[in-house]
């Protein structure tokens, strides 16, 4: 089948050969795969505009048990399914391998970087802070290596005060590193941490339905999953539309 012009342009952009052309290419369609990385959840990709934008810092935030990890793993599964390499900077070493395998993540394509966590931190706040700083350094190294399809910084269970104590220039520096690349950066946390100008924030919360006010589904003797509402927040004023979506998580056999 001959290549369509739009496909050829997409391939040239992907390999950064478009600068060799004598005529300028049209601007990227936001729905183009080169511009966005689909999350793997069709109901979520639509309000996201095709997926999370590449070359930007985006966030998935929400309280505990709001589906952050499920979305994170689904996005990683979609990325590895496309043949991309994924790096996960697990600041507090809470990644569950079985959950990732159940979500469809190709584990061979996942670089898992585990933060140092002590068995009983007690009242020592510095332990979490050191773990976060080390995780930021590892995150920086991964971005410097470049060409990862998806890089995730998972600080979902880090105390908010530890996140706030990080210098604000940290996020500016990371944004600059990822700009213009094909890497999609995802920050997972309890609160918004940082988001680049063209990135977006996905706020999750358990979705209340009828019988269960908190969107948590229990069957007869089995926990069945969560029902989550996702709200998309964009930074750009002209696109400040708070689109929402809902999805359900289902417990697989291993969970």
């Amino acid at each position: 089948m001959p290549l369509a012009r739009v496909d050829l342009e997409s391939l040239l952009r992907t390999h950064r050969l478009d600068r060799t052309l004598t005529t300028a290419l049209p601007p990227l369609d936001p729905r183009d795969e080169a511009a966005c990385a689909p999350s793997g959840v069709p109901s979520l990709d639509a309000p996201l505009g095709g997926g999370f934008p590449r070359g930007q810092l985006s966030e998935v935030v929400g309280p505990r048990s709001s589906g952050r990890t499920s979305i994170m793993l689904q996005t990683a599964a979609a990325a590895t399914g496309r043949g991309e390499l994924v790096a996960l900077v697990d600041a507090l070493d809470m990644f569950d391998v079985e959950s990732a395998a159940a979500a469809g993540v190709d584990l061979d394509r996942l670089l898992w970087i585990r933060g140092h966590v002590v068995s009983n931190p007690g009242l020592c706040r510095d332990t979490n802070q050191r773990a976060l700083e080390q995780a930021i350094r590892a995150f920086t190294l991964v971005l410097q290596a470049g060409n990862f399809g998806l890089v995730i910084f998972d600080a979902a269970e880090a105390p908010a005060e530890a996140i706030r104590r990080l210098p604000f220039t940290t996020w500016l520096r990371l944004q600059r590193m990822v700009e213009g690349s094909q890497t999609m950066c995802l920050l997972v946390g309890g609160e918004p941490m940082a988001r680049s100008s063209a990135g977006l924030t996905l706020r999750l919360r358990p979705h209340g339905i009828r019988d269960w006010g908190l969107g948590i589904r229990f069957g007869q003797s089995l926990f069945e999953g969560l029902t989550v509402e996702a709200r998309v927040v964009r930074a750009r004023v002209r696109e400040r539309e708070e689109a929402t979506a809902a999805f359900s998580t289902v417990v697989s056999d291993c969970a």
Binding site: M1, D7, S10, L11, H15, R31, D32, E33, P42, S43, D45, A46, P47, G49, R64, S65, T69, S70, M72, G83, L85, M94, F95, D96, E98, A101, A102, A103, D108, R109, L110, L111, W112, I113, R114, H116, V117, N120, P121, L123, A138, L141, A145, N147, E157, Q182, L214, I216, G219, L226, T227, E241, A243, T244, A246, T249, V250, V251, S252, A255
Partner: protein, 557 residues
């Protein structure tokens, strides 16, 4: 009148020894009196006479002696010199000198002693040789042995052919009609014609470079300049040979004496590279990162680098594969992460064949995904990936235009999002696998149990405030590795069975104060519960059936 007998005369009828090729073949016949190291002796003899030689087998070597006549004399003198050299080394050789490599080879195999054939007389010299000599040529000697099977020597012998001369006298067209094109090759061999060029056997080249420093250096920064200076010529040589570095040896001679007191202490590091590479910056970075983790004890006054070469990687770039980190970039990243976190804190996760909750293994992260990408592309087809890209775009477009039957909450503008969210009932949603966040060290918890079910969960850990249980599911009893033989394992375990609540007593009871973190034990025996607390969090908790202690094992998120 021109002197036609003068070889230097361009019109001379006598072949000019300086322009006509001349080959020698050395054959070591089998014999009990030949020394064990004869095969290497052949190479040594050949190297004495010419740098261009080809080792066919351990007992057969062809040497290009073209031009040696100007130094030693005619072919007979060269042959005698070869035999004299062999005798001095204690071996007896068959030596043949001819104008073609193939003729010299066949003559050395067929005739003992020294055989000299003037250039141009190869076919005549080979004619009396038995046709069965072709069977002695194996794949290492003849590049056409693969075709030999198509030309049956038995058939030739049934025809009454006994010698190579009789084979060459057959009409080529008829022979080809019966046996195909390989017959022409065999006739050419029988005439002593060279089918292919001599492929010189190269000595194993050593990629090594060293530098003695005028004054000792300390620290990695000055060492970085020295490493660059040593690696650059090595990289160039590797590139010329189409080789990459498989192992990098760094040998640093220190200024302190070694244990014996007679020599200098040496700090040696060996880097096994994940993929063949020859980029100077990458090699230097990897070396420095390794030395950063394993620094020398004192100042350095000599630096030596040795590279174990390996064939270079063959890369074929394609427009259809997404750009990925190169093996060099990944190797550098892996080295940097190792220096930052330690070698055991990163890698590719792997599942373990066990029912132990949260079990996992760490494998080394591959630095070369080219092969898996290629196989993936072959499986899918480049057109399929383009079709997928088109399909995603069309799905996104369809979602935007409103495939509203399928998902009423998707792709809504700000005008309608909130209203729709409030008004519409949830329709069947695409399923997302529920994930857990594991507490690598389970958090000790206090659990209040009523009627065999947990009703309240609290902890002393910051960030795990706990609360009343709004809903729960369980218990799920799981155990294993009790056969590991630890004392107190006690009860046999059954994995993953739903059963009654673990506690027999119906009254409300509280668990004793928080137990210390359990040490990592090979066996486990627990009752697991999924509990939802009133703060909206869902946890997986378990009660250890040996100690009766409760722990938070994971967070459902």
């Amino acid at each position: 009148m021109p002197d036609l007998a003068n070889p230097s005369n361009p019109q001379s009828l006598t072949p000019n020894p300086s322009t006509h090729p001349l080959y020698a073949c050395l054959y070591l016949p089998p014999g009990s009196d030949q020394p064990a190291s004869s095969s290497s002796t052949l190479i040594d003899i050949a190297q004495q006479f010419s740098p261009r030689y080809e080792r066919h087998r351990d007992d057969v070597v062809s040497v290009d002696v073209s031009g040696l006549e100007r130094l030693l004399g005619p072919g007979r003198v060269i042959g005698e010199e070869l035999r004299r050299e062999a005798t001095a080394r204690g071996v007896r050789l068959h030596v043949a000198i001819a104008g073609t490599r193939m003729a010299a080879l066949l003559l050395a195999l067929a005739r003992p002693g020294l055989t000299i054939v003037e250039p141009g007389g190869e076919a005549e010299a080979l004619a009396p040789i038995a046709v069965g000599i072709l069977a002695t040529l194996n794949s290492q000697v003849s590049t056409f042995s693969a075709e030999r099977s198509e030309l049956s020597l038995e058939t030739l012998q049934r025809w009454g052919l006994r010698t190579l001369g009789e084979l060459t006298s057959l009409p080529a067209a008829d022979l080809v009609a019966r046996f195909g094109r390989p017959a022409m090759t065999w006739q050419a061999i029988a005439r002593g014609e060279d089918i292919g060029p001599l492929v010189p056997t190269l000595e194993s080249e050593r990629f090594e470079s060293s530098l003695d420093l005028e004054w000792p250096i300390e620290g990695l920064e000055p060492l970085s300049f020295v490493l660059t200076r040593l690696l650059e010529p090595l990289s160039t040589r590797l590139e010329r040979r189409d080789r990459g570095a498989a192992v990098l040896h760094i040998l640093l001679r220190l200024v302190t004496r070694d244990a014996s007191g007679t020599g200098w202490e040496e700090h040696a590091r060996r880097l096994q590279l994940p993929t063949p590479m020859r980029d100077v910056r990458t090699l230097r970075t990897l070396a420095l990162l390794d030395l950063e983790s394993h620094p020398p004890a004192s100042a350095i006054d000599r630096v030596r680098i040795v590279i174990d070469p390996t064939p270079g990687r063959v890369l074929q770039h394609t427009l259809f594969a997404r750009a990925q980190p190169t093996p060099e970039q990944l190797s550098t990243l892996v080295a940097r992460l190792g220096a930052l976190l330690g070698q055991d804190r990163f890698g590719a996760p792997a599942l373990v064949d066990t029912y132990r909750p949260g079990a996992f293994a760490m494998a080394a992260f591959k630095t070369d995904h080219d092969e898996s990408n290629r196989s993936r592309l072959r499986a899918e087809g480049a057109s399929a990936s383009l079709a997928e890209a088109r399909g995603q775009r069309s799905r996104a477009e369809a979602g935007e235009r409103g495939d509203r039957r399928e998902n009423i909450f998707s792709a809504l503008s700000a005008d309608s999002a909130v209203n729709c969210f409030e008004q519409q009932a949830p329709s069947p949603q695409p399923l997302v696998s529920s994930a857990l966040r594991r507490c690598r060290y389970p958090v000790p918890a206090r659990v209040v149990v009523a009627e065999g079910r947990p009703v309240r969960v609290t902890t002393d850990r910051r960030g795990f405030a706990g609360g009343a249980v709004t809903c729960c599911a369980g218990p799920w009893r799981t155990s294993g590795d009790w056969w590991a033989g630890l004392a107190g394992a006690g009860q046999a375990g059954q994995a993953g069975q739903a059963g009654r609540a673990g506690r027999e007593t119906p009254e409300v009871r509280s668990v004793p104060p928080v137990q210390p973190i359990p040490p990592i034990q090979p066996l486990w025996n627990r009752d697991e519960w999924d509990v939802a607390l009133n703060d909206g969090a869902v946890y997986r908790i378990f009660q250890d059936r040996v100690t009766d202690a409760w722990f938070i094992d994971a967070i459902v998120d």
